[in-house]
Symmetry: C2
């Protein structure tokens, strides 16, 4: 069960994402076209100080949600920046925190049937104040949630990276 | 912090997904364009018989993975079919099982920053044999994983719906 890409054509190019139609050949000789949404990838951060989780609430126009509760996160849209560096920058820009301890929890594809977006999830602890100014954070509200309320946060969560990060944290890291 | 959509234009239309560029007006008067990938949505099923989880392994051309381990799942691509009906159909087509007990675990957006895809996750138990033929399952391999190996499965998993479903199951349903 293997395939190789034998052709690729750009169907649409946007500011962030683009769409390709790629042709694949399988080891049984069959060929098929696949529509693929290309995305630079993203990072998300489970950040806590032992008592509180630091989350964000923001409008998500694509899904018609006026205020979705999420992990601090961001796109890998800076050329040459490693995912961990992006995570450190986003935590500082969105939450106003730095972290002395970083650990990668997991990486996953948000929707591997049709999109190549990969999301890297980190745990950030030993936090300190560190605000970096950014242009696109004016509609982001910081939400502090007690760790004791983790199950309520998870129950109300509608976002893949936030569910994966918080459920992973609950499964393997919550003392 | 509210917005309304004031314009919408189709940028690309594919067989499954499409791309719109929508214009939004915020309550502070500002306006902005957003590129949005439209997708019909999906279902995924955590199916087990008390001893084994039933998973699938399949090629995922979009992310260059020859064999990704996932929950049985499918797109909401049948006009007028409710998500639970799609889940029942997919379980039968991909795994060859029906289930007497169904429970919705959660629903989430795979990537709400730029795509509208919503995924509904179900738990299916009290399984019985029921194979429905389908056209697009020839590259799907059924994988039976002992429930005792759940943490190993989660550790090796790279797919959002599978991570959300299995971590949710581990958190709230595993006896």
């Amino acid at each position: 069960m293997t395939f190789e890409r034998v052709a690729s054509e750009t169907a649409w190019e946007g500011r962030i994402a683009s769409v390709r139609v790629d042709r694949f050949r399988y080891d049984d000789g069959e060929e098929a076209d696949r529509e693929i949404v290309a995305h630079p990838g993203a990072v998300a951060i489970v950040a806590h100080d032992g008592e509180r989780l630091f989350l964000v609430r923001q409008p998500r126009e694509a899904v018609g949600e006026q205020a979705l509760l999420e992990l601090p996160a961001g796109k890998l849209d800076e050329e040459g920046e490693e995912p961990l560096e992006t995570a450190k920058r986003e935590l500082s820009e969105e939450i106003g925190k730095g972290a002395r301890t970083w650990e990668q929890l997991t990486s996953f594809y948000t929707s591997p049937g049709f999109a190549d977006e990969e999301c890297h999830v980190y745990l950030a602890t030993d936090l300190y104040d560190e605000q970096t100014e950014a242009e696109d954070t004016e509609r982001i509200e910081i939400v502090e949630a007690p760790l004791a309320d983790l199950d309520d946060v998870i129950a109300g969560c509608r976002d893949s990276k936030t569910l994966v990060g918080l459920l992973w944290f609950r499964a393997y890291l919550l003392g």
